[in-house]
Amino acid sequence: MDEKVGKLWAKYLTKKTSSIYEEEQVFFSERSRALKIFYHLLGGDKAKSINITDKRFIKTSRTFFEKISGTGKTFFLSWQDEKGIYLPASLAYFPSKKYNEMHYYWLIAMLSKININSNNIIEENMKTISFLVEKYSGFREFYDYAQEFMIKNSLEFLNHQYLSPLWIYPALSNSNKLLDFDDEDEPLREKEKQDETETLKMKKKAEQINDKKETDGLLLFLPESLMSLLEQVNVDRQENDTFDEDALYNAEILDEITLGQKDANLSSRLKMDLDISAETLEEYPLGKGHFIDEWDYKKECYLKNYVCIKPFIWINVEPIKLPQRHVKMMKKIQHELDLMELDRIKRDNLPYGDEINIDSWIDYKSHKNCSNHSQRFFETYERKTRDISTLILADVSLSTEAGITQEIRVIDMIKDALMVFSESLYRLQDCFAIYTFSSIKNTKVNFHIIKNFKEKYTDLARGRINTIKPGYYTRMGAGIRESAKILDKQQSKNKLLLILSDGKPNDVDKYDGRYGIEDTKKAIEEVKKKGIIPFCITIDMDAKEYLPYLFGQNAYAVIRDPKKLPKVLPEIYMNLTKGN
């Protein structure tokens, strides 16, 4: 009973001391994109993130009620540091949603204009306020209203002038430790993860082998009805397991291998049905690997056969349908694709066709000697043949394991993007292939086939997209050269190399900084010389510094929000290839 009374008392006091209109509350999460755009609109730094702030402790003079209720010590303040701007998760100071929403816009405007490095924050606030009210009549109106309202309704605001909700507060000098713990943790966590993942990966490989034996054993307990098939499973499985150095899997004909050939035996398909694929999933090397050159900018020459490319394919992948979460987006994209399909190409001056082309006919008639003039006055409409081959090269370096949110990692977005994009290309009937790469020094550039040009886009290809895992580093030049080699063999008139990356070229050896950039640039030059068009899509915010240098203007796109990648990728592609 005592506890209950206490709770009610605390609730009453808290309510009495807070000047919050809960019903008119406006939440940041519902407005985040609009607020971000508004921040950019007012010239806010586009590299800064917009975040929700935690409560901050400020020493102020508290009222009697505040003291007994224990409130008035911590506040949700708006502030910023070099990395981002921080806003309260919700606002409800005013008795109307409209004004509470305006309050967010006001804070964004203050944050975009205030000088972060100023020592005198009070003066800086006053300066910014007068700038805003002078420039924007809308803000003047809001500010006047807010001031008046606060004076009229809650004198506390006046007492603690320092705590006006319309103001921007300094970043705590120790903000990195106290408030910014999420960000602060990130690099540490990532570093830990890196080591962890590397060892984990190693462990996993060993485990996989053990697992296999266990599974083989387990299969013996399967119902009798399956036993006859089981024997076959085991036999074929053994065959598949032996390291194959057969010419069939030679990396030189990498592009020719389709999963159809590999998967033709019933056994592996059956095995997938029987087993949980995650346990039997494995990287299958396609030959021992082969060597390609790398550009050394210091020596100004190619290091011949310096990089070892190791092609792999995932086997025992579980085929999957297009995940439900993409269906809605796909419908939307399909609509745009249909519009592209409507484009038809007119061919005239034909000896036969659907209709008479009046121009050609008149030309024919205007000739003095009609009989000598060929009777090519028909025209026909054909569906546009897009005649394009696209190779998508996805960077799956370890950095793609970084989290966008707690649940979503960059790699998940890359996978989703590949899934939706492949679906779009498949429906457009454009020829495409998908490869991923990651590297550990020049001795090992893993090059995974997800789908090659000859293979049809099936549930199995989707399954392979679904199995993509983050690898190691980003030896981009090698990945690009290998892809160009494959694209070069394609017969189509237009060839597009679409590189999907989350960062700069880098590796643990000298392939970092300028060396990696110069090699990648060289590789791109080679690509262009082959008549292939390279285009890079990246989610690296710093990309603007080096991408124009690597790809040239108009040959790259920076996606600021990785979550948008699945939606944006098909859009970019359509934009790039429209009106062929």
């Binding site: 755009i37 609109l41 007012l42 816009y105 809308g138 205007s366 285009f535 934009n575």
Partner: protein, 268 residues
């Protein structure tokens, strides 16, 4: 005194006149609505040359430029296209958004754009030598990213190039006032709005607000439209269809211009 109003931003007038006197073709790059067409029309007036404008598109064929046979009651006859007219009679042939035209169409320009200055017409077997006052001007908007549509380097390298951008704030204000007779304060606000929206162009919106749209807004305002509404119809709605973007742009306009009804009364 020319009929058109054009305010020089840099040395473009001088460059154009020099190129004209030397029979050099000009390529103008610049975003939509920054004044490319107006500039060329003004130059045409100042130089006393007719301007033959062709807006290029996907289906523009060489015959649309050069000409074709037509029929009348007497039989067939040849009708010159805009390019041929300019080549024969002198004048500026202006191909707007040339990047939109098919590559095989633009090839007919090659012999006109270099030292030969001739136009061969296959259908009539003629080779026309360009009139001394003939000038070729093409324009495109480099903002469009389309890898399959770029201008052929062999075409591009036959032109003197000139880059256009939106005018500086003070110039833009002057242009708006001159074009619409709007008061200075409103013009200044419009320019401020444009300046802010243009900060979004490489990230959140595809195309930015053009001087042309600002003039539209100003014209509506001088006709008695409420400035807020004028901006909504001529600027905001033209720039995006995305809800978030529209919301923010609307907010921006409402910060500069009051809505027709008093919002504070509605809210309180």
């Amino acid at each position: 005194m020319s009929k058109n109003y054009y305010l020089q931003q840099s040395n473009e007038v001088e460059l154009f006149k020099t190129a004209s006197s030397m029979n050099l073709p000009i390529l103008i790059k610049g975003p939509t609505g920054c004044g490319k067409t107006r500039f060329i029309e003004t130059m045409g007036e100042e130089l006393g040359l007719d301007v033959y404008t062709v807006v290029c598109h996907d289906d523009l064929s060489a015959a649309d430029l050069v000409g074709r046979h037509l029929i009348d009651e007497k039989g067939t006859f040849w009708q010159d296209g805009p390019l041929t007219k300019a080549v024969r009679n002198g004048g500026i042939c202006y191909l707007d958004e040339i990047i939109e035209a098919r590559k095989d169409t633009t090839v007919v320009l090659h012999s006109l754009a270099d030292y030969r200055r001739t136009l061969p017409i296959d259908r009539t077997g003629e080779v026309i030598e360009a009139h001394p006052n003939f000038m070729l001007v093409v324009s495109y908007n480099p903002g469009y990213q389309n890898i399959l549509k770029g201008m052929k380097p062999s075409t591009k390298q036959r032109f003197i190039s000139l880059s256009f951008d939106y005018p500086k704030a003070t110039l833009e204000k002057e242009i708006i006032i001159k074009e619409s007779n709007v008061d200075e304060k409103t013009a200044e606000k419009l320019v401020n709005i444009a300046g802010e929206i243009r900060q979004l162009s490489d990230s959140d919106i595809q195309e930015s607000v053009s001087t042309r749209l600002l003039i539209y807004a100003a014209k509506l305002i001088t006709k008695g439209f409420n400035p807020y509404e004028a901006c909504m119809h001529s600027i905001v709605e033209s720039l995006s269809d995305e809800d978030d973007v529209l919301e923010v742009l609307e907010k921006l306009i409402s910060l500069h211009f009051k809505k027709s009804c008093d919002v504070s009364k509605l809210c309180s």
